[in-house]
């Protein structure tokens, strides 16, 4: 029968081993693969400014991006492909709440520069290699 000492060894040993594997894989992911998959060479000043605007207004509090966030407003990973620059900028710069089918977005009234930065950010996000996400709707009438 298992003794308390063996149980302790299982806990400490297992933790150390799996933690080291996790650190190794994380290091490999972040230093080798992520820069390629996210096209880090295209991470321009404008994209970074766009991310700052995205973060500081908690856009993730309604939208999802890379599938992460809240589920009150549309997924934004492929928003440029889906809506195009004109639509996206109109929603961002609107002085009254943008409200498709009645659901209101906060009226941020961003300047033209800010809206361009966000567009750059979304464009950069949209070009990432996300291992197949979002999947093509497979039951859609073609």
């Amino acid at each position: 029968m298992l003794s308390k000492k063996q149980a302790k060894l299982f806990f400490l040993g297992g933790t150390v081993v799996f933690f080291l594997i996790f650190i190794g894989l994380s290091w490999h992911s972040l230093s080798v693969e992520v820069p390629k998959q996210t096209h880090e060479e295209n991470l321009t000043e404008a994209v970074i400014r766009g991310k700052e605007i995205f973060d500081s207004n908690n856009c993730m509090g309604c939208h999802t991006i890379l599938g992460e966030g809240a589920y009150y407003a549309p997924e934004l990973t492929k928003v440029m492909e889906r809506r195009g620059v004109g639509y996206v900028k109109a929603a961002l710069m609107s002085k009254v709440p943008w409200a498709p089918k009645g659901r209101k977005m906060v009226a941020y009234g961003f300047s033209d520069d800010e809206a361009n930065d966000l567009v750059e950010f979304f464009t950069w996000i949209g070009n990432m290699d996300l291992n197949g996400f979002p999947a093509e709707p497979d039951l859609k009438n073609k």
Partner: protein, 444 residues
Amino acid sequence: MKYRSQKVAYLFFALSMALLVLQIIYGFIMGFAHMGYDVLHEIIPFNAATATHKNLLVVWLLSGFMGAAYYIIPEEAEIELFSVKLAKLQFWSLALVGVASVIGFHFNWWEGRKFLEIPRPLDYLVVINVLLFLGIILKTLYSGKKRTTTAMVMVMGLVFAALLYLPGMIWFDNQTIDSFFRWWVVHLWVEGVWELIMGGILSFLLIKLTGVDREVIEKWLYVIVGLTFLSGILGTGHHFYFIGTPKYWLMIGGIFSALEPLAFLGMALFAISMYKKGEKRHPNKIAITWTLGTAIVSFVGAGLLGLAHTLPSVNIWTHGTFVTAMHGHLAFWGAYGMLIFAFISYVMPQLTGRKLYNTNLSTYAFWLSNIGMVGMTTALGAAGITQVYLERKVGMDFMDAQIAMEPHFMILIACATLFFTGVIMFIVNFLKYGTPTDQALVKN
């Protein structure tokens, strides 16, 4: 209670309950918005409501854990708490940071990072606060007569939880890396080190309530927390499927997160078998009910409902939908919410000397809150499946799918009302106990 200083735990439980009520109110605001009644949009837009809802959850659970630590550590180490004054200072600074964050959210002062919305300047206050808390706990533990496995596992969980907050405070320009480290905090908290805290609290409760020998209980505690880390650390990979991270996470995350229910199954079997082994003589039946409840509901909510969408072939469709919210609600409630309710149920008679357990109010509180939460989980699941089918599979426009989901939010609100009623009854019972008194001290 055995030590005067344990009374300070009460403050943390009171704060915990107050924040929980506020969290639920914000949940209602969001539920109504999803039904199409976003009437508070001008004052509390949805992103403010959701940031508040999620952060209040984190703070009320942490406050509950801290209260539990201030009660458990003196009793396990057999010594008075190092300093009650400092513990009170730590309490007020925690309350202050919590309130400041929530108010800030309403004035667009935050970071758009799910669960970690507290802005960077306040993060430093959180760090100071937690260091103070850990200082008091560690000083007490290492000045005491004993360092039991229960206390060590719990304190280890608390120390790791504090350390893991740090990667979430670094700024990254790359959204993927930002997200990568955000999960180091959030996942390794709830599916890692918080389970150590849970294991420690559960073990303390089982020792007190069942009368089973400490050595037996603590042996199994090691096995359970061992299983937690064995599956949970690499299980973080299930957040790295589709965010710009390499493909091997699909396999690693899939395999190890599929093993995560084992730790929760272990927790459930552990609690049930210790209860059956025990003498069943402890009069506080409602504390036992909550203790067994948290062990079982965490297995269903965190374990099974997590497994339901953790495989990459399923998650490619469900990632970023209400299926996640379905799992999240029963998981947090079962594993951590009910755990704190179990601890409060055990500890209030000890702190006040009054025996208000086994009242109708406490029994109804248990059943109403749990039936309500199961109903809420079902409603969120129905909404999630509808969303996955219409939006992801059929390719319907986002808002058209959302409108089709509205009836499920009506049921969500109905079930949430049941849940809220149960919680309020629990709090009424909590208030009826009154405040802790030295008359409740038991001589060793």
